[in-house]
């Protein structure tokens, strides 16, 4: 275990970013989001939850996949993929880190998504243990220990020090390059902090959320629950929950005509909450918002686990709890459906 004084943190950031691009929570126009660190940038490491999750780094909101050039009847395909240089993703909370596992199972499954894979492989992830989780957090429900995340390096922070533990080879390499900034020690402090954090987590209102209903009930029974109607009534069909969600991975493939003969094909985040998500020229298989709403939660709680050995596609980060304009969220769904197992 290594430690560094909090007042020296900027030196650490500068040191890392000198070597490799460093992405970490930054404050821009009042909001904390992951961004490329540059010296002098306003960091936001202490913000519990960035608005967008860290998935942006591997699965950007918008990303060019291929370009085309047309000439008369001919088409040239331009593969724009470039080698991704190693970079550091710093300050990822346990929930967001767990979300990478969820995303990996989609993007790294055969056939591999090379855009995602390249970034994922190039990245050294520095996770950051939570110190003061809040009432919307429920990562514990998914077996996540917010006080002890993994990743290539794990860090803890208190009012005086930042503590550093390397976990992997990648982590060691990173450690090596900045080792000179650190002193040894801090095991005890970390241990104390972890204990305290875990105590808070125990007390959080959602920590006792029970998902066994979804594990033990037939898919169609859950699907046919009449409560979906009421649950979805206030849904605006916006994509806030999906876009702030660390595990939502639906995307659209669109084209942009940069000029008459230059076409950029890109993919961008899409939301199953949008009314046109499944719109085809001759019909739509989900016409009501209830169906779309149900799809999102069925996917997270039933479909995805069924395909991935019981792993839920939710990590309890609580962003949707905080950000839904009308205060709908997965917790309300779980409680409403899971509360009456006898139905």
């Amino acid at each position: 275990m290594l430690k560094i004084k909090v007042q020296d943190l900027n030196k650490l950031f500068d040191a890392i970013s000198e070597k490799e691009p460093l992405y970490m929570p930054l404050e821009k126009a009042g909001e904390a989001n992951y961004g490329l660190y540059k010296t002098g940038e306003k960091t936001a490491l202490d913000v519990l939850k960035t608005v967008k999750s860290a998935k942006d780094l591997f699965f950007p909101q918008s990303e060019t996949i291929v370009k085309f050039k047309t000439e008369g009847k001919n088409i040239t395909v331009e593969d724009i993929r470039e080698e991704v240089k190693p970079f550091v993703l710093f300050g990822v909370k346990a929930c967001d880190f767990k979300a990478f596992e969820v995303l990996d199972k989609v993007f790294l499954a055969d056939p591999v998504d090379t855009y995602y894979q390249a970034k994922r492989n190039a990245c050294t992830v520095v996770t950051f243990a939570c110190r003061r989780p809040e009432e919307s957090c429920f990562c514990k429900v998914f077996g996540i220990d917010a006080a002890n995340p993994v990743g290539d390096v794990t860090i803890w922070k208190d009012d005086e020090n930042l503590y550093w533990r390397e976990n992997t080879e990648k982590g060691s390499k990173l450690t090596e390059s900045v080792r000179y900034l650190f002193a040894e020690g801090g095991e005890k402090d970390v241990q104390n902090q972890q204990e305290e954090t875990r105590k808070i987590i125990e007390k959080l209102p959602f920590s006792s959320l029970d998902l066994s209903y979804f594990e033990n009930t037939e898919m169609m029974d859950i699907f046919n629950r009449p409560e979906w109607q009421k649950l979805s009534e206030a849904c605006l069909a916006c994509g806030t929950c999906t876009f702030v969600c660390p595990t939502c991975q639906c995307f659209d493939i669109r084209e942009f005509k940069a000029s008459n003969d230059q076409i950029i094909r890109y993919r961008c985040w899409d939301s199953c909450m949008y009314s046109d998500f499944t719109q085809m020229s001759h019909g739509n298989n989900r016409t009501t918002q209830m169906q779309r709403y149900r799809q999102r939660f069925m996917h997270k709680l039933v479909y995805y686990p069924e395909n991935n050995g019981g792993l839920f596609s939710c990590v309890g980060c609580g962003r949707c709890v905080n950000k839904c304009p009308q205060k709908l969220n997965i917790v309300k769904v779980v409680k409403t459906l899971g509360g009456k197992k006898d139905d």
Binding site: G72, S259, N260, D261, G283, N284, T287
Partner: protein
């Protein structure tokens, strides 16, 4: 995919001297979709058009771009040529490389580059063109004239003369309008009745003209060529077909205290009356507000005395519905209310009168049988002062900002007539300036000053007040630069005129727009002065703007010409470049109808299938292609883009933008 042919015109040397036409043709060849590219000396010539036609045939062109002079010159020419070869004329686009390029640029390189971009832009547009077909709608060969004054009468007579049926709807019991109330007319001083009544009689006698007096337009539906109009025939309580106009009823009516509107309320009339001797139809009418029988059930004298049994107290308003192909609005004017003009003391002093009241006081059929007597004591006024611009060119709330146009002339007329008939009368006229453009008008005014000795005083009147039975007219004389006070016996106010207020309702019914002064707006102030923006609706007389009799009559005849031109057609070709609403996207918010100057947009309830066997009924916009003029105002008002304009679709314009910006 489209197969486009591009034709670059040299226009002799007009284009070719500055634009390298060969290079343009060559550069365009490789554009996607272009299958033919050529240039020619004069595309508009017979040979040039043949070149275009041959290429359409040979290369199976689906779209044509001509790089030539302005589309305002030859768009129609090339469209026609394309049509002759079986290509939809709206699949032709013009790139203006003469007026917008070769003529304004000197550098050959620069002009050639620009020409290429302009042609490419036209190609981008034509690729998104859709074949358009002009619709047709039948024409009902009958016209409606709203208003039976001189404007309406003249229009009706001209239309009838051409052989078309025409109805005059007049809200008063007789046609004739304001002109019938006038004594003499300027600048010739002929008697108004003598020239008007023959025309009224002509109307009555024409088998093409149906006069619906004491009637009002209640509702208008439809569009050019196909109006459906509901007309309220107010209860007259006298059977028009029976009444002979003998006036026995009038003599016997015990309720004689009704104000005589025709005489500007200067004397009284019975409850049953014929407005004036030459009224058309010469049929009595009962004023229900005044008739004892109708009010209290007691009387019935007229019915007893009527030899032909024309009186019917049980009569009620009737609504009739008729169809018309065209509508002429000729609703006329009235003098403005001048009660607010305290400075002239109109309401306090009986001897302060309006010009129209003076007309009646001087008319042989008027309350004084044509002898000029002042209302207060029926004596001859010795000093008469006229005040001009009462309420005209007045920016206060009391008056009107515009010039009423006729006042200068009729005041000169009045002054002249008085001086001629009563030479011992002293006549003063206060004026701001005298406006007499028009044939023989200024001469007329000068005669009043020079021959008849009318005292014209340039200046405004500050106050008129009664002092010992004299009306003291206090004003300024700007030329002498002094204050003057003229003790007068009679003061005549040249009152501003305003559109008859009923025009507001009619304008709403016709979706004809009205300006801030309630005058109907013409379709174009210079080039379409008699058409209203609503197709098939025409404007005659003062309802469109202040004007005198000759102008009114010419406008009425112009209207008639327009109406005849319309009615002579069996059907109307409609402009295919009109707005169209994509019902599947329209949410019926009504914003588009609000900006439509033509009333072309209505709303219908339409049922949509939602899938799963469910349906939803939604209010959606419908554009009547026969009425829409294709301006596109609605398309921008529509936030969802459900409204688009054919021929100038959003996609087309955007692709033009993209092409220009491609550089």
């Amino acid at each position: 995919m489209q197969r486009i042919g591009v034709f670059i015109c040299w226009c002799g040397s007009n284009i070719a001297a500055t634009v390298d036409v060969e290079r343009v043709s060559e550069a365009i060849k490789s554009e996607p979709g272009v299958v033919f590219s050529a240039n020619y000396q004069y595309m508009c010539s017979e040979n040039g058009q043949q070149l275009l036609r041959n290429a359409i045939k040979e290369y199976h062109l689906t779209g044509v771009v001509v790089g030539s002079c302005s589309p305002r010159m030859h768009e129609a020419t090339f469209r026609k040529a394309a049509e002759a070869e079986g290509l939809n004329p709206y699949m032709v686009e013009i790139a203006n490389i003469r007026e917008h390029c070769s003529w304004i640029h000197k550098d050959r390189e620069e002009a050639t580059e620009k020409a290429i971009i302009l042609v490419r832009t036209a190609i981008a547009k034509v690729k998104l063109n859709a074949p358009l077909t002009a619709g047709e709608s039948p024409v009902t060969k009958r016209a409606l004239v709203i208003g039976g004054g001189i404007a309406g009468i003249q229009a009706a007579l001209d239309i009838a003369e051409a052989g078309f049926e025409v109805d005059i709807v007049e809200k008063n019991p007789t046609i004739g309008g304001r002109m019938a109330q006038l004594d003499k007319t300027f600048p010739t001083l002929d008697c108004a009745a003598c020239i008007l009544t023959p025309k009224m009689v002509d109307c009555a006698q024409s088998d093409k003209i149906d006069i619906l007096t004491y009637s009002e337009v209640e509702d208008v539906k439809g569009f050019v060529g196909n109006f459906k109009v509901k007309i309220r025939r107010k209860a007259r309580f006298v059977d028009e077909t029976k009444c002979t106009g003998c006036k026995i009823c009038m003599d016997n009516c015990p309720s004689k205290k009704g104000l005589n509107e025709f005489n500007m309320n200067l004397n009284n009339r019975p409850a049953i009356y014929i407005p004036f001797a030459q009224a058309i139809p010469n049929v009595a009418v009962i004023d229900p507000e005044q008739c004892l029988k109708l009010k209290s059930g007691k009387c019935g004298l007229c019915q007893k005395k009527c030899g032909v049994g024309a009186i019917d107290y049980t009569m009620t308003d009737k609504i009739i519905e008729r169809e018309y192909g065209a509508i002429v609005v000729a609703t006329g004017f009235r003098p403005i209310n001048i009660d607010k003009f305290n400075e002239y003391g109109y309401s306090e002093n009986k001897d302060v009168i309006t010009s129209l009241e003076l007309e009646r006081l001087m008319n042989a059929a008027g309350p004084t049988n044509g002898v000029l007597l002042r209302p207060s004591d029926n004596t001859h006024p010795k000093v008469i002062t006229f005040i001009q611009c009462v309420g005209s060119r007045d920016l206060t709330d009391c008056g009107k900002p515009y010039c009423s146009k006729i006042c200068c002339m009729y005041t000169a007329k009045h002054a002249m007539l008085i001086r001629e008939k009563y030479p011992d009368t002293e006549v003063h006229v206060f004026y701001i300036d005298v406006r007499c453009p028009g044939k023989n008008y200024d001469e007329f005014y000068r005669r009043a000053c020079e021959q008849y000795g009318v005292d014209y005083i340039k200046g405004m009147v500050g106050k008129v007040y009664n002092q010992n039975g004299k009306l003291m007219v206090q004003g300024s004389n700007l030329i002498e630069n002094e204050q003057v006070t003229i003790p007068s016996d009679l003061v005549v106010l040249a009152t501003a005129i305003e559109p008859e207020p009923s025009v507001r309702k009619i304008a709403t019914l016709l979706t004809a727009s009205i300006d801030t002064n309630n005058f109907l707006t013409e379709a174009h102030p210079k080039l379409k002065p008699v058409e209203s923006p609503t197709a098939g609706v025409y404007l005659a007389g003062v309802c469109q703007g202040p004007k005198d009799i000759p102008e009114t009559v010419s406008q009425a005849s112009a209207c008639a010409a327009k109406v005849i031109g319309l009615l002579v057609k069996d059907s109307l070709k409609t402009n295919p470049c009109v707005a169209q609403s994509d019902e599947s996207m329209c949410n019926g918010c009504s914003q588009c109808a609000n900006v439509c100057a033509y009333g072309a947009i209505t709303y219908i309830d339409k049922e949509f299938r939602l899938g799963g066997g469910k349906t939803e009924t939604r209010r959606v916009a419908y554009v009547n292609p026969a009425v829409c003029q294709g301006c596109g105002a609605c398309t921008v008002t529509c936030p969802s883009g459900a409204m688009d304009l054919k021929g100038f679709a959003s996609k087309q314009i955007m692709s033009e933008v993209e092409e220009i910006c491609r550089k």
